[in-house]
Symmetry: C2
DNA sequence: TTTATAAATGAAATAATATTCATTTATATT
DNA sequence: AATATAAATGAATATTATTTCATTTATAAA
């Protein structure tokens, strides 16, 4: 008996993700997807009942993958300002390195494929947790403005998301990012 | 001779906008759009060559409309800082009041309809020009950081977009917005 | 009024895309 | 090596959406 190549499922997911981030959810065609994934059109339908199921399972697949570790390379004994710098750089780098994640979520919730959600808020909180804690610590030390931490995190993430988005759709690489200027604006904005 | 009802164009635009914010760009069907706008399918094609042209003109329509909205109540003889304050407040208020604007822009740039051509770039420059000039003027006066104006505008818009998104998502009204804190972070971030 | 002209209509033609299925291919088991 | 079984294929078909166009309708001008 021929063995089902289970790796194909994630190949289809990853290919679909990349295509969606380039052409939008509206631009994803099943035949193109199959071509891009180097499989036959019909093969996609062995793994997924139809396009609807593919998109919904892709959403669940991504949810599991998005627990990213923004704290990597973060030394506990480093000053708070540097911690935030590393954290924001990690966040931005990951956002640019994996534009397809943000692109998909952004579009999924406004698409006809979206049925219902509640998990996403929890996932976001898990992902943003380390940043959130640092802000509160900075406020205790009177280094950071005494503004609602949720608002501060929103503002910083908003800046980073926007920069990542621009970097993606203008197709300018990560090497064109003006890291120093971005962090200066962030830091001057949030410091006391 | 029968007179062309020019109001239909904006009726089509506004109907399309609301539909896109509900179903996504992928969910917008020409026949449904016509039905929703209470006109015949063919009538849409009198005003727009095809769906592509409709979406691209919708983008330009929104670009002009939103910029007009943002500039209201802007007095020439007011200090630069206040001008920016009014502009950012207008931007945030309009973004919350009209979630469909952000929804469209968010999707357009990732859709197959988005193409950079000279005409569109010129329009964008015309529309965004006054905002960039404000930043450049501030840089000449050494009030604003000497950072690429496009990056500065991105960062500020990113903050405002994120706050607007959260406000829409959590359904907390515009009255809950902490305007002063937001502008403090923005201003401290961009000032020299 | 009547006429000329362009707007508006919506069913039908065209085009694009999703899905199926008869056939071929690969492999685990005997 | 032969067989059985399910995976994989991709052209054919079904479905859905876009666009056209012959016809009808409204209005400005004669």
């Amino acid at each position: 008996m021929r063995i089902k190549d289970e790796s194909k499922e994630s190949i289809i997911f990853e290919t679909a993700l990349l295509m969606i981030s380039k052409t939008g959810l509206s631009g994803l065609k099943m035949s193109q997807l199959a071509k891009e994934a180097n499989i036959a059109t019909g093969t996609v339908y062995i793994y997924f009942k139809d396009k609807d199921e593919l998109i919904r399972k892709l959403y669940l697949y991504l949810l599991k993958k998005t627990t990213l570790d923004y704290s990597k390379g973060l030394d506990e004994n480093v000053p708070l300002k540097l911690k935030i710098k590393i954290l924001t750089f990690n966040y931005l780098a990951e956002s640019i390195l994996h534009p397809e994640y943000g692109a998909f979520f952004e579009q999924y919730f406004r698409s006809p494929f979206f049925v219902e959600n509640e998990m996403i808020k929890n996932e976001e909180n898990t992902v943003l947790g380390p940043i959130y804690e640092l802000v509160i610590e900075g406020q205790k030390q009177a280094i950071i403005k005494n503004i609602n931490p949720e608002l501060l995190v929103s503002l910083v993430c908003g800046m980073l998301n926007e920069v990542a988005k621009e970097s993606i759709y203008t197709q300018s690489g990560i090497e064109k990012i003006d890291w120093e200027s971005i962090f200066t604006v962030i830091w001057d904005g949030i410091k006391s």
